[in-house]
Symmetry: D2
Subunit: 348 residues, 4 copies
């Protein structure tokens, strides 16, 4: 009983740059797991780090590893103690496997589990034909949602979580960094009734996408001073809500400089190095509220995300810029490195 | 110094049904007050109660009284201790004059001041050429907003306060009662990203307006069972958010019956008699959150309201169904009694 | 494998008043369950309803049933798919078995699960030597907490959940109804820094306990008008926080009459019949916040409860008024019916 | 009409270190102001900066200036447009004069007014016999509270605001920096039901006071590693709540290192220079909530503060370590510079 045999997968074979498309064993499932046949996967910036084998990857990844963590698929097998998921279900997958037993998990905050294990980072991922995941990590998707959109619920969920971590309706929102998650955040903010939305980036390609997703004003920070523009456009008060999506120290500093007194800054972008802040002026005197955002709230974020899609309030299709067969993952990686793509879908 | 002479006004002359258009003295202003020349006023259901001289009016109103409380205008005179309002300002007026000294006022909750005095109810109102109001009660309006829309910020603010008293984005909202405030609430909920919005009423005229304001599903409760419809359309779960705008005991009971477990009910409609509720099933077992809503938060609600109008997220113009000179107020009252109008604007 | 044989238990044998102490089979456990050897159990008012076989019991209970749901014990056996609970663990048990799959469960609100099954009500309970419960329903207790106190975490948790559902520090709190949960709430409110705590009841026995648990002012509502006393003692403003623990229509009405404008009422007591309220004066004009409270938040409430006990902020021992062997449950029931006891502990 | 003549005051005469006790004119009052006769004042660290004439002082202070901002007194004169304050009232004074017209002021957040003017910094202060303040800045004190305690409501209010900016009951709290405000925060956290409270500092004098105010564990960071101690004592999880009161870059870094995943850090201490933080580990991955805290919420903080004092939950008397006549202010300054005092009271 149980699926056996091998499957095509993208493997990080050892502690060095690169990856390889090869065959590996189909993963087995435990009593509480389900086996998902991957229908569509998507490439995340994290995957580029793994392939490049940078310092973060060296510290975190234990090869050989099938990586990739953004995907949707169909349940093809369920473990003996699975209670409510059926073979044939169309699902998207929460990539953070929480332990379910720590304080955070037991108080509704499994997204910041102390012992989280991330699919495609700490355990086998989705650039493959099959993935084994705990039943608790699947979210049933409306079949009216396309495979491509269902595959990017992880980054879309990041944006939903970040944007809706406080009030938005009637407020001015600044999105710092217009990568795919930033672009999603623009759309979520508009759907939630933001008064107007600024979006910044250093790449015209991304700013064009941000505009298409609804940004009222895009700012190319290689050409304009984002702080000056946003302060000028808000009567000198700043933005009510700032969503930091760049992870760049300059972006973080801009985020706090454009934040209104009493405003809310939600930080999702991950700086690769320490950041120097003027805490007195930027946070304390302002009486600012700052949220660190990690993952997606399980499962509030997922319900919100699906509702925004089902109701037509958010349309993610402009972000699906390219599609490839899984075996041509290199092409997608190249496009991303050049900054000429948003979300790239792979079909195993 | 100060404006003197008389002005045209609608007066409740004594403790009996009816009202009269007559001339009264232009009101004087105290050192902290401003005199507003009324540009447009609107009729509220409360005004009908005052004219009809029902039990509530008999208990509350002390004639002779110029009534009316929904209006906008221009500041024409300011008191000696006024600090930041200038003659010529285009303003809408918060009708609740808070004392500024009670616990509620001193903790940011002036809308539920213990000693509130309401313009047009407890002190001279706006169905007149001029009104004297404390400087703290004027809100500067964007000149891009029409006189007619600026005149109905009080009921629109009720709707904004009620709808945004909790989360809305991605949620299902049921508006019970589609009078003008209910119709405004439909629009606010849609602007805030509600997944879908139900609106109920007993009058097709109002339901047609609710649909025009964005309701996804209208329910004529003389023809359909609102509870059955909403439960059926939500998979038996009920609405995440219920906004009670009818004030009718049946509406209140429907409100709680259609509320999802863990949902939020915000009650604005004022029942004229006690209501019998199944607290165990409707509130306690459900773990429901219930908010009593009164007035408008000063001034968060006003900022939100203006932002929704300025950004084009909400268009109130369909609710301005009729306009008359002030002296023809009777025509407006008649239309409202027949249920063939939403907001009626009067020009002094 | 697995424990077999019979055990002593208190059984509701059929659809009629009464109960019997008898031997039944030791329950089996599923792969995700644990078997708990009961060390101490406690009698709840619900158990009296089951024995009395009133209308609620007739509707809800399916005999034969071992009832009882407040208890602590030791894990003696674990199912095959149990992941983090070990034999020998000292645990108290959350009585609400949530399905883990509904919207509420998946958004951190399992305490209001749509498909809840309650131990000792919908499935075999704790007036027995052994109980089978899902692993997810056990909470590890600090061994420094006595068996008797560990056995009453369910009602204590009700009080913690109700009291801490909003701010308390520096505020005036009125506890309506001083049964065991009301007495716990008094202690929690004091521990959380309430400025002063009123406690009402109709029985001097309970009011004496409330005073012992820290109430600053007790009110025997057969002798004094609770509304008048609380308004007089709060300068006419009312209590900032009202905790309704009586479930009696008069108590509910008092609760709303003594609530300050802008205050918070948390309702835990379950009225057995509809209650007529003056919604306009009691909730709407006041701008009140009303929470329906059900069960205990899993597991925030449990962490809070244990912290209050471990830190010595709350001492529940005065509420443990009597202890009996399980077989003498009738004696305990009699005391409770006479109102001459708070919590009665049974040792199987 | 109005008090005239001169009074004794402590003056910063010009842009250089030092101060002088001299006679200046009694301040006049505007129509909305009241004149307060100072009964007791207290020295804040800010006053030391003004005397020392450091860079901050050079930038902010415009001499000649009577400084000092912590005080209580009696109202001896009221302006013509004053509405509810009477001569003879015993009052403590909120030092932040908000403009009442900016967005923050009009949305219940006057403590972060965009145009704040601080008594004793931007306008004449309290090291004098009389001070003129807007009526809106006086808070009536219970006459049962001593002059000395009434004089330190400003720093006590800082502590109340910081500590109660989130939940505390049943949680572990770390207070970083045990100056007078830190010591107040220890007391507030204990009063609010904190499970246990850590307090850090570099001075044994302050740590002894923190212990006296209720700290369960004090940490001399010149002798022990605060991060190691707090992590060890919390099972490696960290503190649920961290209150940063030191303003020192090392303190700020410790604050984030000891913060639990999902915890709350409230920052009050003002770093005099930029601080370098590991945002990824300290805020983002943790899903932390960070609040910048400025001043005192008007007037929620004041109500909370007074309730804690009136109910006996907090006793501030151990912090009143020295008293002097106003003319001997130098003695108090010396003691503070040596770190051998907490709050020093001056009597004009």
């Amino acid at each position: 009983m149980g699926m056996t045999g091998t499957m095509v997968a993208v493997l990080k074979p050892g502690p060095a740059p690169g990856c390889t498309v090869t065959r590996v064993a189909i993963p087995g499932i435990g009593p509480r797991d389900v086996l998902v046949r991957v229908k569509a996967a998507s490439i995340c910036g994290t995957d580029l780090h793994i392939v490049a084998w940078d310092k973060w990857a060296e510290r975190r990844i234990r090869p050989p590893l099938v990586f990739g963590h953004e995907f949707c698929g169909e349940v093809v097998e369920v473990g003996a103690a699975v209670t409510h998921t059926e073979v044939g279900a169309f699902v998207s997958i929460e990539g953070h496997v929480a332990d379910g037993t720590c304080y955070q998990c037991r108080t509704g905050n499994g997204h910041i589990c102390e012992n989280v294990s991330i699919i495609g980072v700490d355990r086998p991922g989705c650039f493959a034909e099959y993935v084994s995941v705990p039943e608790t990590n699947v979210y049933p998707m409306d079949r009216g949602i396309s495979l491509e959109v269902a595959a990017i619920q992880d980054p879309f969920g990041n944006a939903v979580h970040t944007t809706l971590s406080g009030e938005v309706t009637g407020l001015t929102v600044a999105v710092i960094g217009s990568g795919p998650i930033g672009c999603c955040a623009v759309a979520v903010a508009k759907a939630a009734g933001a008064r107007n939305v600024f979006a910044t980036d250093i790449r015209p390609y991304r700013l064009a996408l941000a505009a298409r997703m609804g940004a009222d004003r895009t700012i190319d920070t290689t050409q304009e001073d984002a702080v000056a523009v946003i302060l000028a456009d808000t009567g000198g008060h700043g933005a009510d809500v700032v969503l930091e999506m760049s992870g760049h120290p300059d972006g973080v500093r801009q985020a706090f400089k454009v934040l209104r007194r009493g405003g809310r800054a939600s930080l999702l972008g991950i700086p690769s190095q320490p950041v120097t802040l003027d805490l007195a002026e930027d946070i304390i005197f302002k009486g600012a509220t700052v949220y660190g955002i990690n993952g997606r709230r399980m499962w509030q974020t997922w319900y919100q995300a699906q509702a925004l899609l089902q109701s037509g309030k958010v349309d993610l299709s402009p972000l699906i810029t390219h599609t490839f067969p899984l075996a041509e993952i290199d092409k997608g990686m190249d496009l991303l490195r050049k900054g000429e793509a948003a979300k790239i879908i792979l079909y195993p």
